[in-house]
């Protein structure tokens, strides 16, 4: 008698386990870096849908998404490239592709995933569907700031040698490389503007940034915001700032100043300084809220328990939040009504209403770092 009951129960569970069809437009993931896993999230009900385990060393991990928003590609520090199926909540494929990697990008057509490596320095290009390795572009230096550009190109910077390389992967087994040398000392990160035209690398070893117009790459790189430190000794940098296309708010680009408690404002028409905003600490991320009315900023150790909000029209800080200890990342929903914030040392992901700053939800997470939503899959440079 008991047996059939259990069998029926099991059958029932099996039936329930087949989820109804759903879209992926409101899905995303949170890197739980100490646990080597990701938490699947959905932003409509602001909840966790569970975890996917077994992703290896996820310090500094980042993710990009397939164009259909179903798959995530997670780049781990141990060189692991993991393809996740968000709908089935499982690892689809995983390869260890190098000793030490820093991030990656997906091509314009969605067919290629490029991984940027520190050791051995270079990028590796994979088939996005199968993760079959297609080609390697060795650089002899640490690759930073990789971004995809129109024309199935990947653009990145080289830390030790101060170069920006543009790799055309239209023929992914025979990528064509254009090198721009002498862009400045120690580029630490780079990004592409949302329209795919300009690539900007931040420099650690000099006060300034390097700008490349991808419509005219033969013209090389030009220095912008040169000498923004005005000869003052920079403060020690306990965490490198991060750059990405989210820095663009209308005509202005908001950039972390290296070694200063300032956000720099760059005019993207004249490429000159449009102002600078004094902030709480050394900025790590300066992210424009979709709609570009506000820019949210988090900070480096030891001032990393605060988030400040800059009003773009007023060009000043209008709000300060204290989400928790060690705030590592902020991610907006595509229309900007919510922002998800990770507090590593409080073990929580917080969701704020961007209009009222009210805390809408708080999800427990193990040392959460990056938060990545599927809407990135539709954006150049993500």
């Amino acid at each position: 008698m008991r047996f059939p009951v259990i069998a029926a129960l099991l059958l029932g569970i099996a039936a329930c386990a087949t989820p109804p069809p759903r879209g992926t437009g409101d899905l995303g993931l949170v890197i739980e870096r100490a646990a080597g896993r990701v938490m699947l999230i959905e932003t409509s009900g602001r909840s966790s849908l569970g975890h996917i385990e077994g992703l290896g060393d996820l310090s500094h991990a980042s993710a990009v998404f397939s164009r259909d928003g179903r798959y995530a590609y997670v780049f781990g520090r141990d060189g692991g490239l993991t393809k996740l199926d968000l709908l089935r909540a499982r690892i689809e494929r995983r390869v260890i592709q190098a000793g030490n990697s820093i991030g990656g990008a997906i091509s314009q057509d969605g067919r290629l995933v490029a991984v940027a490596n520190y050791v051995p320095g270079g990028i590796r290009i994979f088939d996005a569907q199968t993760l079959e390795p297609l080609s390697v572009v060795p650089t002899g230096a640490k690759v930073v700031g990789i971004a995809d550009a129109p024309g199935n190109r990947f653009v990145f910077s080289l830390f030790e040698t101060g170069e920006i390389w543009i790799v055309d992967a239209s023929d992914p087994r025979r990528p064509q490389v254009r090198k721009i040398v002498g862009v400045g000392k120690q580029p630490y990160d780079g990004f592409i503007t949302p329209n795919g035209r300009h690539y900007i690398a931040g420099l650690f070893g000099e006060d300034g940034l390097a700008l490349v117009d991808l419509w005219a790459p033969q013209a090389g790189a030009r220095r912008i915001l040169d000498g923004y430190g005005r000869g003052e000794e920079p403060l020690p940098v306990y965490k490198m700032p991060h750059l990405r296309g989210w820095a663009v708010a209308g005509r202005y680009i908001f950039l972390p100043a290296v070694g200063r408690h300032e956000v720099l404002v760059l005019d993207s028409v004249t490429w000159t300084e449009a102002g600078r905003i004094a902030v709480h600490g050394q900025p790590v991320f300066a992210v424009a809220q979709p709609g570009a009315r506000r820019v949210w900023v988090n900070f480096a150790f030891p001032r990393n328990d605060v988030v400040q909000v800059i009003d773009v029209a007023a060009m000043r800080v209008v709000k300060e939040l204290r989400p928790g200890r060690a705030v590592l990342h902020m991610e907006f929903t595509p229309r900007g009504e919510q922002v998800w914030v990770s507090s590593r040392d409080d073990g929580a992901v917080l969701v704020y209403d961007t209009a009222t700053y009210a805390e809408l939800a708080r999800l427990p997470a193990q040392s959460p770092s990056g938060i990545f939503l599927t809407s990135r899959g539709a954006m150049t440079g993500f």
Binding site: A34, D57, S59, N100, I102, Y118, V119, A326, D345
Partner: protein, 105 residues
């Protein structure tokens, strides 16, 4: 007798090495700092990132005093910042001992 003396000497050496060791609660904080904040550049497992590997094999041949000096003073012209504002000399020294031994998992 000789053995006994040798043991005494060894005990003395060990106590000196431990003399400046941080209290248990502080140790946990330092290990957290190592994994998380040093890990931001050296990798969460300290296998290396923008900064080099800090695993036992990578540090074996390096002088402990020099390593703690780098931690406290940083290295100019590189992204390695000085941590002297957050760590005492004894704490930096203890950190180096932990690194050379390998961090507990």
């Amino acid at each position: 007798m000789l053995r006994f003396l040798a043991m005494l000497a060894l005990a003395a050496v060990c106590t000196t090495a431990l003399a400046g060791a941080p209290a248990p609660a502080r140790r946990a904080e330092i290990l957290h700092l190592l994994r998380q904040d040093c890990g931001a550049c050296h990798g969460l497992t300290l296998k290396g990132g923008l900064g080099p590997s800090l695993e036992p094999a990578a540090l074996a041949a390096k002088d402990a005093d020099q390593l703690s000096f780098v931690i406290l003073q940083g290295r100019r012209g590189t992204p390695m910042p000085p941590w002297g504002a957050f760590l005492t000399q004894a704490e930096a020294r203890w950190m180096v001992e932990q690194l050379k031994k390998g961090l507990p998992k």
